[in-house]
């Protein structure tokens, strides 16, 4: 837990910056929590009830159910899925059958999160965070999982695999060294900060209009954010491990959103016992992963409802959209090891305000290929287009009231 004692050990330079906006900013714009499921989930275990499709291997004991307008694959082994849709279907939409145009994990990740496998693009989270009108202190906090940046690296705050951010911020990283050192006193830190800022001003003036000028300005922004964070912040950047780890990650992410520190946050779910979703053998593990995921999501919804919105009105659930996705799907049929291999079509789930809840957009045909969609309505249409990750990202941008650029959103998803 980051305590005020730790913050004071960093120095009191926050007092040198009287003009900064209040930390608990007006968070009236939509916030996003990304729940990334690494490895490639099998959509036929929840989202794609392709019973009767001879090419698709469905579970023998699964059935088709529908709750709140959302048809799903129901199984006695997954009561949490049923419970989730029972309680939250009206604020949930599923998007089926979008394509990621690759079958390697890393390339699919990049395509999912940026809309392109070519590189040189910032991911949706950093773009949405960067577009915030409120200059959040930690615009896009990546508690776990990947992030892709090009021009917007400055807006992404990675917390590290093992509490590194907490240790850096509190200064305990100086003690965790084979040649430790003491952090400067508060007074010294303040003098160093003032000296450094003066140095930066001169550097920016000398390098104005060049790469160096940009570097200096972004460095100054980083220092400003650090100073703002030094106020009385009660965010646990390194909570105790939970089982599964995503629960602790979510606590940190929601703390950041609740306080208005962040507009976007990401956590990662790697399946039961962190086996990942990459079930090339024994596809039955997908059921366990989905059961645990939806149990966690149920808890998340309760937590969102319980936490106040940083606007001061309503709860965090009112202005947060949860995005649940995986970088790829899995093949329709089983392989010789009773597993499923990589597939370029997958699904995602959007939960929360701003989306047309109680609906499934898109569908799979009997070979588990995504059907074309009319983006204006979100309806399946022979004259529509094949959904891609870029369309999903553009939809998120539109939800964020941000220009999606050349990518087209699914307008029908927007409430």
């Amino acid at each position: 837990m980051l305590t005020r004692r730790h913050l004071l050990a960093l120095g009191g330079s926050a007092m040198l910056l009287p003009g900064l906006p209040a930390l608990a900013e007006d968070g009236s714009e939509r916030k996003f929590l990304f729940v990334f499921c690494f490895g490639g989930w099998d959509v036929t275990r929840v989202f794609a009830p392709l019973f009767g499709a001879s090419a698709v291997s469905m579970e023998d004991d699964a059935t088709l159910s529908e709750l709140g307008g959302i048809p799903f694959v129901d199984s006695a082994a997954r009561p949490s899925v049923r419970a989730f849709f029972d309680q939250h279907a009206e604020k949930t939409c599923v998007i089926n059958g979008f394509e990621v145009t690759s079958i390697t994990h890393q390339r699919c990740l990049q395509i999912l999160m940026t809309g392109s496998g070519a590189g040189g693009r910032d991911d949706w989270g950093s773009r949405i965070a960067n577009a915030s009108a409120h200059a959040p202190t930690l615009p896009y906090v990546v508690v776990a999982g990947p992030a892709y940046t090009d021009q917007l690296a400055n807006d992404v705050v990675r917390l590290g695999n093992d509490g590194q951010f907490e240790r850096l911020f509190s200064g305990t990283s100086l003690e965790l060294a084979e040649r430790p050192a003491a952090a400067p006193t508060a007074a010294t830190a303040a003098e160093i900060d003032a000296f450094l800022r003066g140095d930066l001003e001169a550097f920016i003036a000398a390098e104005s209009g060049q790469d160096g000028g940009r570097f200096g300005e972004l460095y100054t922004t980083a220092l400003d954010r650090q100073a703002r964070l030094m106020s009385d912040v009660d965010v646990d950047f390194n909570p105790e491990l939970t089982e599964p780890p995503i629960r602790a990650q979510m606590n940190t992410a929601l703390d950041a959103l609740e306080l208005g520190l962040s507009r976007c946050a990401q956590v990662e779910y790697k399946g039961t016992f962190e086996q990942t979703w990459d079930t090339h053998s024994d596809n039955r593990r997908q059921s366990d992963h989905f059961e645990e995921l939806f149990e966690v999501l149920g808890g998340l919804m309760d937590d969102l409802e319980a936490r106040p919105s940083p606007t001061g009105a309503g709860t965090l659930a009112d202005d947060t959209t949860v995005v649940v996705w995986s970088e790829m799907g899995r093949t329709p049929g089983l392989n010789t090891s009773a597993g499923k291999d990589h597939w370029t079509f997958t699904s995602c789930m959007l939960i929360g305000g701003g989306v047309q809840g109680g609906r499934v957009f898109g569908e799979y045909d009997d070979t588990q290929v995504g059907a074309p969609m009319d983006l204006a309505t979100g309806d399946v249409s022979d004259t529509g287009v094949t959904l891609t990750a870029a369309n999903i990202g553009a939809t998120l941008m539109a939800l964020a009231d941000t220009d999606p650029g050349p990518d087209e959103p699914i307008l029908g998803v927007l409430a």
């Binding site: 940046t149 965790l176 093949t331």
Partner: protein, 518 residues
């Protein structure tokens, strides 16, 4: 490769950057700062005060200093670190672990870096010994350190230390990095993948063809029939064969490294010559390199070496690594000149590195007109920062034997903008909050170690502070800056003593943008 760039980035002609025939006006760095840039890139250190004075007095002495850097033994480490930014080798997780080899947990970092660096060190040694670069796919030797000498089948010389050239003792073919353990540990395969990912890695690393950037659109393939077999599709459907016609034959040549048991240290340690025949059988295709049959890894390496794209890729790789950006269409003429110098030098990289440092792009300190694609201020990578600090003061930031700027398990490599080889494939140029925190803590540690080690006077004079400014930034300080620096020192000294004051001043100087950019 430029043509492929055009195909992949069709908006080049319509963006705001100048076309190839429009002149750029770039302002070169002054002599001392250019020397600093070369020293960081080629040695991982700052220039000495003597070197800076020499170049300040006579800029024409710079080429000789640069040439000396290219013969400096520290160049090899720099090449390893640079090449890693393309090969993505230095990761924290592999399919086999330190305990599989009977090592101690305190050796985890050394284990992970040793196995990953084997092929990188090998390539770096080919370069520093000024050998033809084609040896990286044809040589019958590699590099190993004592740890690898203990756990891998190599003839590490008894009584030696450090990285040494060695030969494999398990009869594997002579194919340079293609015969490397490290390469295939980082680029593994599975029974379902059948070496295809490895073939894609060969294309990307050695001829700069990124097959994984090509879109795979299943909707465009013939999937109407439920009897469709994907393994047949990749041989019959034109959309699939566009890539697989060349992937499969290369994959078929890599079966000596095919592991029948996943996560087995024994499987992953030795070459399996008896499995070479499995490739054609499993993939139903004869091994070949773009239509030229090969009988195994040695012939594969030989074909890669004579492929025109190999030399072009070498030029592109090392040029982009030194320029700290990808090459674009506007670099065409520069690229052609560099390729010519590489060819004239019989395909050796040392002359190429020298030629790159002579380009206006490398030397640019400012872009006056039309140069917005140039990187005129580079950000120190975590490994560069660590190397510089270590050279200044013997700086170390380790925990359980793991350098904290060079791992992500408990360290800060990714947070400081470094490449983790998995999610992060390029170093980050922009300062971020976490970068700023890492730099702050590293500077505080280094400041303390510099002060305690006596590398800087405990009660510095104004002239000594000015000289430190010169040493760190390759710039003479202004009077205003010196006034502020002395005021900082005096203020802290009055309150906490000289040692704390020196630590504070040094750490502040290390955090300066002039220190962190080059």
């Amino acid at each position: 490769m430029i043509a492929l760039l055009l195909a992949c980035h069709g908006d080049v002609a319509t963006d705001s950057r100048p076309a190839a025939d429009e002149p750029e006006v770039l302002e070169s760095l002054d002599g001392p700062r250019l020397l600093r840039r070369m020293s960081i890139d080629l040695r991982g250190t700052l220039p000495t005060v003597e070197e800076l004075d020499q170049v300040e007095a006579d800029r024409t002495s710079l080429p000789a200093l640069r040439d000396a850097m290219l013969e400096d033994p520290r160049l090899e480490e720099r090449l390893v670190r640079m090449l890693n930014e393309r090969w993505h080798m230095r990761r924290d997780v592999y399919d086999a672990t330190w305990w599989d080899f009977g090592l101690d947990y305190t050796q985890e970092y050394e284990f992970e870096r040793s196995l990953a660096e084997e092929p990188l060190r090998f390539v770096a040694r080919v370069i520093t010994e000024d050998r033809p670069y084609s040896e990286i796919v044809t040589a019958d030797w590699t590099m190993a350190n004592p740890m690898l000498g203990d756990i891998w089948p190599v003839d590490y010389p008894p009584g030696e230390t450090g990285w040494q050239p060695v030969q494999w003792t398990d009869g594997r073919p002579a194919a340079g990095a293609l015969s490397s353990n490290g390469l295939w540990w980082v680029y593994p395969t599975t029974p379902f993948n059948q070496n295809r990912l490895r073939a894609a890695a060969v294309f990307r690393l050695f001829v700069c063809e990124d097959y994984l950037a090509r879109p795979i659109e299943v909707s465009a393939a013939t999937l109407a029939s439920e009897d469709v077999d994907p393994t047949e599709l990749i041989r019959t459907d034109p959309y699939c064969t566009a890539c697989h016609a060349t992937i499969e034959p290369v994959a078929a040549s890599l079966y000596g490294f095919f592991w029948t048991t996943q996560y087995s240290a024994a499987e992953m340690t030795y070459y399996h010559a008896e499995r070479e025949l499995l490739g054609p059988e499993a993939l139903d295709v004869a091994p070949a390199w773009f239509g030229t049959p090969v009988s195994g890894l040695e012939e594969l390496g030989a074909q890669i070496a004579v492929d025109p794209r190999f030399g072009s890729c070498a030029v592109e790789t090392w040029t982009s690594l030194l320029l700290r950006r990808d090459l674009e269409l506007a670099d065409w003429e520069t690229r052609q000149r560099l390729k010519a110098s590489y060819d004239d030098a019989d395909g050796r990289v040392l002359p190429l590195l020298a030629a790159v440092t002579d380009t206006s792009s490398y030397r640019a300190g400012a872009a006056i007109e039309g140069g917005d694609r140039q990187v005129t201020a580079r950000t120190l990578t975590p490994d560069q920062l660590e190397s510089i600090l270590n050279d200044l003061s013997g700086f170390e930031w380790t925990y359980i034997n793991s350098p904290q700027l060079d791992n992500d398990t408990m360290g800060h490599r990714a947070l400081a903008g470094g490449v983790d080889g998995y999610y992060i494939s390029r170093p980050i140029q922009d300062p971020t909050l976490t970068w700023s925190l890492v730099v702050q803590r590293a500077s505080e540690l280094a400041g303390a170690q510099i002060q305690e080690g006596g590398a800087f006077p405990s009660s510095p004079t104004r002239d000594e502070v000015a000289e430190l400014h010169w040493r760190l930034y390759a710039e003479r300080p202004t009077d205003t800056w010196l006034d502020d620096a002395m005021a900082l020192w005096e203020g802290v000294a009055a309150r906490e003593g000289d040692a704390a004051a020196t630590q504070a001043l040094v750490s502040a100087m290390l955090r300066s943008p002039r220190m962190q950019t080059y």
